[in-house]
Symmetry: C2
Amino acid sequence: MRELLKLTEGKNIICFTGGLPDPQVFPKRELAEVASYVIEELGDRALQYGPTKGITEFRETLKRFLMNKGVKIESDDDIIVTTGSQQALDLISRLLINPGDTIMVELPTYLAALNAFKSSEPNIVPIPMDENGMRTDALEEEVKKLKRNGARIKFIYTIPVAHNPTGITMSIERKKHLLDIASENDLLIIEDDPYSYFVYDEGIDVTPLKTLDKEGRVIYLSTLSKILAPGLRLGWVLGNGVLVDYIERAKQSADLHTSTLNQFIAMEAIKRGIVDRTIVKAKEVYKVKRDVMIDALEKYMVKGTKWVKPVGGLFMLIWLPSESIDTKKLLPEAIKEGVAYVPGAAFFANGSGQNTIRLNFSYPKPEEIVEGIRILGNLIKRKLNSN
Amino acid sequence: MRELLKLTEGKNIICFTGGLPDPQVFPKRELAEVASYVIEELGDRALQYGPTKGITEFRETLKRFLMNKGVKIESDDDIIVTTGSQQALDLISRLLINPGDTIMVELPTYLAALNAFKSSEPNIVPIPMDENGMRTDALEEEVKKLKRNGARIKFIYTIPVAHNPTGITMSIERKKHLLDIASENDLLIIEDDPYSYFVYDEGIDVTPLKTLDKEGRVIYLSTLSKILAPGLRLGWVLGNGVLVDYIERAKQSADLHTSTLNQFIAMEAIKRGIVDRTIVKAKEVYKVKRDVMIDALEKYMVKGTKWVKPVGGLFMLIWLPSESIDTKKLLPEAIKEGVAYVPGAAFFANGSGQNTIRLNFSYPKPEEIVEGIRILGNLIKRKLNSN
C-alpha cells in the first residue's frame, strides 16, 4: 500500500484506497478547545509520562463509553490503551503466537492484521465468508481437521461488523455458532470492532461477540480512529485481566505507554459528548457516500460484478465477474486514468481474490465517487472486451 | 519498576525513581496555544492518518533542529519518527537481533533498553565504565575474544552523554576509540542521546558519535521527552537510509505511525522556539537540583560512597562502600521511611551492582532532595553499623 500511495503522490487522483475519515467529520473547533484546556489546566499530568496501561480515569471513561454502546465488561476483565488498534494486533501477535502455531482468519481479512500476525510466523488458516459473515460451518470443519493433525490453534480473528475489506456483517446466528465452536474447542477469539459504533442503517444487530461471550474467550479490540480522529492513535484491548497484564508487559518494552496528552484529549472529548456527536455526523456523511457508491456501481459496473452492501464502516469489496482480470495488474492503468484503489488479493490469506477490488467510500467526495466508479467501470469493461 | 511505583501509590513519598521532567518546565501556555492552532487550522492533516516514517515537514524540521545542535546528517541518511525512543529501541531490536546474536552494552546501562533487547534473546556482553565512559580498552579486548569465538556481534549500544543510570559522559578520546574499534571490526553503533541537548555545565564536549562517524556506522536515537514533554511520545531514529526503510516496515506493522497531532504540535513548538526556550529553562532548574543533590550526598552519605557528578541528564548512580548492602532488599525500608529509588542492579547486565542506587534529581523539589538524601543516608549508616 505504501508503494501504491507513492504512485498517487502529487497527482489529482480519485482515491478509493485508505480507510481515511472525511476531514469534515473531524470536530476541529471542539477538539482545539479541549486540547487547549487539557494542556493548560491538566498539563502537569497530560504532558508527563503515564502508566503503561493508560491513564486510570481515561480507562474508566472508556469502560463507561463501551458499556453505553452495549459492550459487556466482566468483573475479571481489564482494559489497556494501545497506540491505535494496530499496536493491539501487534502485541497480541507477539504475545500469543509462536512460530508454527495456527491462527484462523476470515477470507478475506484486514491486510494490516495479517501483516502483524505474519511477523510471528503462524500457520494462517482462512475461513470463507458469505453475506452473513464467516462461514462457521467451514470453521467447525477446519477446527476438527486441525485438531486431528495436532495443530496448536491460538485464536480466531474476526471483524464481525462492517468487515474490512468486504463490508459484510456477521449474523447473530453465526456469532452464536462461532462462540459455541470456541467453547467446545477451548479457543480464544480476537474481535476487532472499529465500526459497530457508527452503523448507518436501522435495525441491524451489532451485538459484540464480547457481549454474547459467557466464558471470557473474547478479546475485544477497538479504536477512536474512526469515531474521533485517527491522528490521536488511540485504541484499546478489553479482555481477561491476566491476558491484559501480559499485554501491558509487552507494551512497556514496545513504547512505554501511549501519548498521555492524546488520552486526556480523548477522555475530555468523550465526557463532553464530542465523540457521540462525531458519530452522528459520521453516520450522516458516510451513509450518503455509501449510497452514492452503490448507485454508481449499479450504474457503471459490468454485469455480474458482485458486492455486499455494507451496513457501516468505510469499505466494500467488489468481485469482478471474470477471474481473467487481475486487479493488481490493472491498477497502474486505473491510476493513469485518475483512480486508485487497493487490489483485493492482499486481503486473501490463501492468495486468491485477484479479481477483487477494495473500495473506500468515506474519504472521496460524492461527485468523486461517481466519477471514479464511472472511470473504473469503463476501464474494466474495455478489459473484459479485449480479453 | 512498575511494582515499585505501586508501592508508593497514594503515599507521601519522596520519589527519586522515574526519569520524570519537572512539570514546571513544561511550556503549558505556549503548547496550549500551539495545540489549539494546529487542530483548528491544520486539523484536516493533524487529525488524519499520516505516513509511517512521520510527517514530511516534521522530519525536515527535526533534521534542521538536529543540525543546529551539532548532529551531522549525511546525504544517504534518513530519519523516522517513533513513538518515543522506547519504540526505536524495540524496532531496532526486532530488526537486528536474532536469538543468539551478540550485542554489547555499557555496564550498567538503561534498564528499558535492556528489556527491549532481551525480548529478541541476544547474548548481552556488558563493558565496564569509568568516569570517562565506556572502557574502550575492555571493549576492544571483548570484541577480539568474541570474534575468535565466532560470535555475530550486531551492535554496540551506548548513551555517551549524561549516561543513564550513571550520569557519566564519554570523553572525546573514548568516542574516537569506540569508532575506530567499530570501523576495524565492521560494527554498528546505536547512540542513544536523550540528554546532550541540555547539558548544565560549560565547556563539556558533547559531540555526538554520529557527528564523528565517517562510515555510516552510527544509528542515532533521541527524543523530545526531556526537552519538551514525554506525554507526546515523540522520538526518532537518524541513520543510514536503507536501515531506516527497514525500520519503517517494522513500524508499519507495530503501530502504523506515531500520532500526527503530536508531530504537528512538536513541529510548531520547534519552529516557534518553544523547545529552545524549554531547554534553557530545564537547564536552569535541573542544574540547581543536581547541585542540591550533590551537596546533600556529600553531607549525608556514609564515607566511601561513590558517584560521578553528571554534567547533564536526570540521573546519577551511587555506589555504597560495602557490597554487604543489597539496595533492592533495602528499598521497602526506605519506602517505609518515605523515600523511593531504583535499585541499581537492574541496570547491570551481568547481575552485579547490588550496592548501587539510581537517583533521579529532575522531578523532586530541592527541599525534598535534601530531606530524601538525609533519610537515605541515615538508613544506610544504620544498616552498615548493624552489619
